[in-house]
Symmetry: none
Subunit: 127 residues, 4 copies
DNA sequence: GTGGTCTAGACCACA
DNA sequence: GTGGTCTAGACCACG
């Protein structure tokens, strides 16, 4: 479990931790059901306060990425079988990104190629 | 120039203003070369402190979306003829979004369809 | 004796066990005087540590729902003939619930209808 | 803004603060749109750390009771016009309370009378 | 001025 | 052992 934090970034540490874990889950480096380090362990590993990790875990839990079990610590939430399409918040972020690309002069084709490239890095759900 | 701000959102006002302007440029509602309201004008229109608008404009300038001229005020930056691909920061945001989608159980196909849908809302560069 | 536990809930296990038993008594699935499984039996059935079940039983005893006898094990406390009204702690919880409902915009009528609906699920004391 | 905290209770302070504020909103002591004390002010008033109040406010925000505005601080969330019935979580808590009452020997009539009494303490939405 | 973040260290509840 | 809570104080971002 290696997380890279940028202490000089203006993104809060707990947010960076959250992002890195989401990335790891998306890429399949963390599999559904897999256990994460304990709060204290991770805090000590990456050199931050345990409350900061705690906040990141709580955020991930509230977003539905993690399950937190008092006995086993935190683990990646198993995927639900039926999952519908993207939610409104997701589309809003995606639309903003598309606008940034367009405003920068990228064509639709280049944007979609970039999307595809990003998707390729992720692991696919097994059928 | 109509911007929708959510005063109780946890996204900073200057960030919301920046996002709305990027969206407007992406969708073609603001065309390259077009002038934007002055800082004071916009601030008065949307009822925020002019420092806040100032910050948004400065951010947009630093990101390359706006040109700020003391005489002409702010205007949308004309597109460069040759434009390379997406930059690293953009890809990072896109990858995070792809990871969120994958971690939520969306398939690659659904994600790419959403990307395409977002791209459709944007205006195309004229040939 | 079937109890549904949610291991990833933030409600402590012993509290969940306590709640399920109170529900079963309220609904009449457990009758006054009826015996409950032993601590070890129940712990083994639902797959938790017996200390956890022990804690739940002790809590239920202290709240007056169970009688614990070293010979007969735990049994549902028979109802007293004369029973006074709700106690202070109960009213406090009920008032908080009413406040949550009101603050969410539910009218008094809707709240009382929900109360009635909840009461219908319970078994009535025999005359 | 007077909150009574019980330092020896096993209910976390931030939870007690949250409950007291919900009660105040339900009873109409805090009206929709009304401003709450600042985090620091309330923390100093009731003698707790400001992070504790912060956590309570964040919880109330996430539950939809408060709006937090960087400029004006926290204020009671105005009610939405259309509000449907009680949600599942609410019914679960209410059902548990009904079970507790029944298991204690209260009749349905007594329970409903208690519900009505609790509802009377609340303020009604104005038509 | 506000809320938000973070730290270092403590204590407690749960299992 | 775990996560959860709390403190006292600091610094920063926002407006």
């Amino acid at each position: 479990m290696i997380l890279k934090l940028d202490l000089s970034s203006d993104i809060p540490l707990y947010q960076q931790i959250r992002n890195q874990i989401v990335l790891a889950v998306g890429k399949g480096e963390l599999k559904p059901g897999e256990s994460l380090p304990t709060v204290r362990q991770l805090a000590s590993d990456i050199g931050v306060n345990s409350m900061t990790v705690n906040k990141a875990y709580a955020l991930l839990k509230s977003e539905g990425y993690l399950l937190i079990d008092r006995r086993k610590g935190a683990q990646v939430c198993p995927l639900k079988e039926e999952h519908v399409g993207p939610d409104a918040d997701f589309m809003e972020k995606l639309t903003l990104l598309a606008a940034e690309a367009t405003a920068k002069g990228l064509t639709k084709e280049v944007f979609l190629a970039a999307c595809k490239q990003a998707a390729e890095k992720m692991s696919q759900k097994e059928e």
